[in-house]
């Protein structure tokens, strides 16, 4: 993706990407559409008059793909912004911390899942001050237990030990 990071394209040239952002966006839509068509290929379409399970997913996926193609098409004739820089650090640690929470909440409970996932998320930024982060995450977890478990009495496991990880797929 970063290879196309050349900013606003110059005029002239028969077929060059003049709007890399929209071209990327179009490719993304095409990928989504292709994935949906592949996964929905087994579903019966039915007829317009009596629709099958696959009618709407398939036609909507085709529409998404059409928008993708159109975006790519326009990106060849109109100038536009270049691609943004993609960074891995944020997505990995922020979304990673959410995944950690999901894996820990039913296995060890909120008392552990809370601080651990919050500390994982702190790796996403340089601004972190670790001493502060540790104290804050413990305090926040205690506050959450008080708020969600004690005050709102949601059925959230606070501290348990249950293995294996009870994810049902």
């Amino acid at each position: 993706m970063t290879g196309m990071d050349e900013g606003v394209a110059r005029p002239g040239g028969a077929l060059r990407v003049r709007n890399p952002q929209d071209a990327g966006a179009g490719l993304f839509l095409l990928a989504v559409a292709a994935f949906a068509l592949w996964k929905g290929a087994d579903l019966p379409l039915g007829t317009l008059r009596s629709m099958g399970a696959g009618m709407l997913p398939t036609s909507l996926a085709v529409l998404v793909g059409a928008f993708g193609l159109a975006l790519i098409g326009f990106s060849l004739v109109q100038d536009g912004p270049g691609l943004d820089r993609w960074r891995l650090r944020g997505p990995v640690f922020i979304l990673g911390s959410v995944v950690v929470f999901a894996l820990l909440i039913r296995t060890v409970g909120l008392a552990v899942a809370g601080p651990v996932s919050m500390l994982v998320s702190c790796f996403a930024t340089d601004e972190v001050r670790w001493k502060e982060a540790i104290i804050f995450s413990l305090g926040m977890t205690a506050f959450c237990i008080l708020l969600f478990k004690v005050m709102l009495s949601l059925p959230i496991p606070v501290l348990t030990l249950s293995l294996p990880i009870p994810l049902r797929f």
Binding site: I94, V98, S153, L154
Partner: protein, 513 residues
């Protein structure tokens, strides 16, 4: 005029003093129903502010606590939680750009922009005041017109409903700030996501990738929290400049005279739209804020201000939201048919207390009916009293350094998502949609049209297929039925109006920012 004697009955129910055995003080008369209403509104505000924790989970949990109360008091409290949550939901939307429910998606557009411009207090204030006005008007509507309006709910069959949703899709086009084509693509993507899950008619699994947790489709909160909440954190971590604006200037706490002047008519129009849509079965209230936003943007002198912190874009939709939340009680109280999931839970609450909702509640339990109606008005007053002083507190929260703020938002979101179905898989899906949201930001797609497409898609497919089954596959049913035909005509006119300015301005402006 019966109305006054009925309202008097309602007030006497709400204000009734009941001797309560208070520890230490002994037996003393207390206005129990008022206190319950207050407690309900307070809890509602709290859960509305917490992302993910919705009124459904909370009402379900508090049900057993209400066992010991008399039914009127219990329902007054539970209703307070419901509309309190609608109030509180706008707070998170404005402060941290997370819409807790479908109805506050629109509020993020201009509300959060206002917060970024240091006008968080004004946005919160106008949301509270607009909601209060809407709540008062809607209460009067329920009291005076509840019974005749019930017919409206029965007038809307699947065909009419589908046409209404088509109209809703046109709103989505207007929501877009930037490229219209990208907005359309997002709507279609939202519609596509809404088809995930079991097929309504045959029960076949569609696009679920074999995951059992997807067989009921993607949960709205999961999608919204991922696309808005998590993606917003990622965006803020990458560009500290934009988020520092929020911390920088905090202007006045409450709306100025000028703000009131700009908001007055949007509030009135929003209230009207929200009140009407709220009555419709199958959660028509969802459309209210979108309709109001579309209307305000269309009639504004400078539509460009919308999406960039226009106060009308907060005042109108927030009023519509609250008016709809209130009038959604009409089908429940007069027909006994719950129009949405929260109302279905209210039915459960009523049955646990031995009152089975139906067309006769009004005549058989007048104290309950009118007590609830009056309590709604009292509750709206309380919400104003609870929320206005809180504005200062919320705005101060924005001063918390972001390095501490984002882990806190994350943990609240995670707990909230988990609590929807007590299912860790939902939390994983949210992380996935956070990633999708990040990709969308990078390609400058907007998530709001996607969410609207998603919300409408679920209803639209259901109603389309029901209508076609009932008409035995004939599409003419949509134009033969007068209400449906009328709605389609309005949708067509709106679409032309929405696209005309863009077409006139030429392609250059249509497809670029």
């Amino acid at each position: 005029m019966d109305l006054f004697s009925n309202l008097a009955l309602g007030f006497s129910t709400v204000l009734k003093l009941v001797p309560v055995n208070v520890p230490v003080l002994g037996l003393m008369p207390l206005p129990v129903n008022i206190l319950l209403c207050f407690v309900g509104c307070l809890i509602g505000t709290l859960i509305g502010v917490l992302p993910g924790v919705g009124p459904i989970a909370t009402i379900a949990i508090l049900l057993p606590i209400t066992f010991g109360l008399d039914p009127t008091g219990a329902l007054i409290m539970l209703a307070g939680i419901y509309y309190g949550a609608q109030y509180g939901g706008s707070t998170t939307a404005i402060l941290v750009n997370i819409p807790g429910e479908a109805t506050s998606v629109v509020t993020t557009l201009d509300g959060h922009q206002m917060a970024k411009q240091g006008r968080a207090g004004v946005a919160l204030g106008i949301a509270a005041i607009g909601s209060f006005f809407a709540g008062c008007v809607a209460t009067v509507v329920i009291a005076a017109l509840g019974l005749p309006l019930t017919k409206l709910a029965l007038l809307f069959g699947p065909a009419e409903y589908f046409s209404l949703m088509v109209m809703g899709l046109v709103f989505a086009v207007v929501l877009a700030r930037g490229s219209v084509m990208k907005a359309l693509a997002m709507i279609v993507l939202g519609l596509l996501l809404s088809t995930v899950g079991q097929d309504l008619e045959s029960g076949q699994e569609r696009l679920t990738l074999g995951l059992q947790d997807l067989s009921d489709g993607i949960d709205f909160a999961v999608l919204a929290m991922g696309l808005f909440g998590f993606a917003e954190i990622l965006r803020n971590l990458e560009s500290p400049e934009t988020r520092d604006v929020v911390k920088g200037a905090i202007g006045r706490l409450l709306p100025s005279r000028q703000d009131f002047r700009e908001s007055f008519w949007p509030v009135v129009r929003g209230t009207g739209l929200g009140a009407i849509l709220g009555i419709l079965p199958g959660n028509g209230a969802v459309l209210g804020p979108f309709a109001s936003y579309t209307l305000e943007k269309k009639i504004a002198k400078e539509p460009r201000r919308f999406g960039r912190g226009a106060i009308e874009g907060v005042a109108g939709p927030e009023s519509a939201n609250n008016a709809g939340a209130q009038t959604a009680f009409i089908p429940l109280l007069t027909l006994g048919i719950p129009p949405n999931a929260v109302m279905a839970l209210m039915v459960g609450a009523m049955t646990i207390h031995g009152i089975i909702p139906g067309p006769q509640v009004m005549t058989k339990n007048p104290t309950l009916f009118w007590g609830m109606v009056v309590s709604m008005w009292v509750g709206n007053l309380m919400l104003l009293v609870i929320n206005l002083p809180l504005v200062g507190l919320w705005v101060k929260l924005l001063k918390v350094p972001y390095r501490l703020m984002f882990p806190a938002i994350l943990i609240f979101c995670c707990i909230g998502i988990y609590s929807i179905n007590n299912n860790p898989a939902d939390v994983l899906f949210t992380a996935f949609f956070g990633l999708v949201g990040y990709v969308l930001i990078k390609f400058s797609f907007e998530p709001a049209p996607l969410l609207l497409g998603f919300v409408l898609g679920k209803l639209m497919e259901e109603k389309l297929r029901q209508a076609l089954i009932l008409s035995r596959g004939s599409f003419s049913t949509f134009v033969e039925r007068p209400v449906s035909a009328g709605l389609l005509v309005v949708a067509a006119i709106m679409l032309v109006l929405a696209l005309l300015p863009s077409i006139q301005k030429g392609r250059e402006e249509v497809f670029t920012e």
